[in-house]
Point group: C2
Chain length 173, copies 2
């Protein structure tokens, strides 16, 4: 299962149980040509993927605006920053400026481990770090491991509670 | 100028001046077939518009999650609820449940007037009202007129301040 599918399933679970309202934004697509083979039936016949100007996920949790980007890597050693668009870093800076909660969710597929790491730390490494990547050791050091379960697949709101709401994690939830 | 363009321009202005971070979500599109006429160049050759499951706009303002839908009508008497998807009503209910600020922005193009109206009021009319529309008189009664200017085109954060932050409007801003 891909990280995107796991997150979508988890967000559906959280929405159904009224825990949070978090959605993946649609992929931005530039539509060039549309045909109308039948009345009211629009068929897009030429379009292109656009570079995203924001992160992939956002929503509301416990009254706060939540905004994050998800990345997975097959590398066992690091996530390269080439997979993060500069626009996404600028966007997350603004999320923090306006009082939202911003973070990255990073999966190392080799280990089947998924971490949540604060956007402020990622921005610092992205802009001022010595390397153009974040190492697996840094993700372990600065991030927090997301518990996996049957439902939700990724219990990442537990990590959000601990990091941003200064609470003990309640694993009984 | 369309309402969408006015809102996008206003949101760009607000973002540039660090007043708020509000984006229009991309239109959801179901991609069926993609060609690769050249390396790294993906061309979508068959795709269809999907029914939106959420509202068009969301973001962060003064630490709060903001979520709204924008509609314009050429009618001089009412906005029909047929233009609002049931999914969008369900979505806005959840926005309110989770502590976000939710509303509609409605433009009557005949009068070049644009109003902000709280989602709670719209949901009540949508679900329990006598008609399948909201009349121009109701929009005037329950909504608040958005001031227009050169920049931003629609000063709708003034209305948000007044309605949701219990403050006097500061027209000097």
């Amino acid at each position: 299962m891909s990280l995107e599918k796991d997150l979508n399933d988890s967000n559906t679970y959280y929405a159904m149980h009224n825990r949070a309202l978090i959605h993946k934004k649609p992929t931005p697509i530039q539509v060039v040509k549309v045909d109308y083979p039948a009345r009211n039936a629009a068929k897009i016949v030429e379009a292109y993927y656009k570079t995203p100007s924001t992160t992939d996920y956002n929503g509301i949790y416990r009254g706060k605006a939540i905004d994050f980007e998800a990345k997975e890597t097959h590398s066992a050693t690091a996530l390269t920053f080439r997979s993060i668009h500069p626009h996404q870093i600028q966007h997350l800076k603004k999320v923090l400026l306006h009082g939202g909660i911003g973070f990255f969710i990073i999966r190392f597929t080799r280990f089947n481990e998924t971490y949540l790491i604060d956007a402020g730390i990622m921005i610092e490494l992205y802009e001022n770090g010595e390397r153009q990547s974040i190492s697996y050791a840094q993700v372990q050091q600065y991030g927090s491991l997301i518990r996996q379960s049957f439902q939700p697949r990724l219990c990442y709101l537990e990590n959000v509670d601990t990091l941003y709401f200064k609470e003990e994690n309640n694993y009984g939830k």
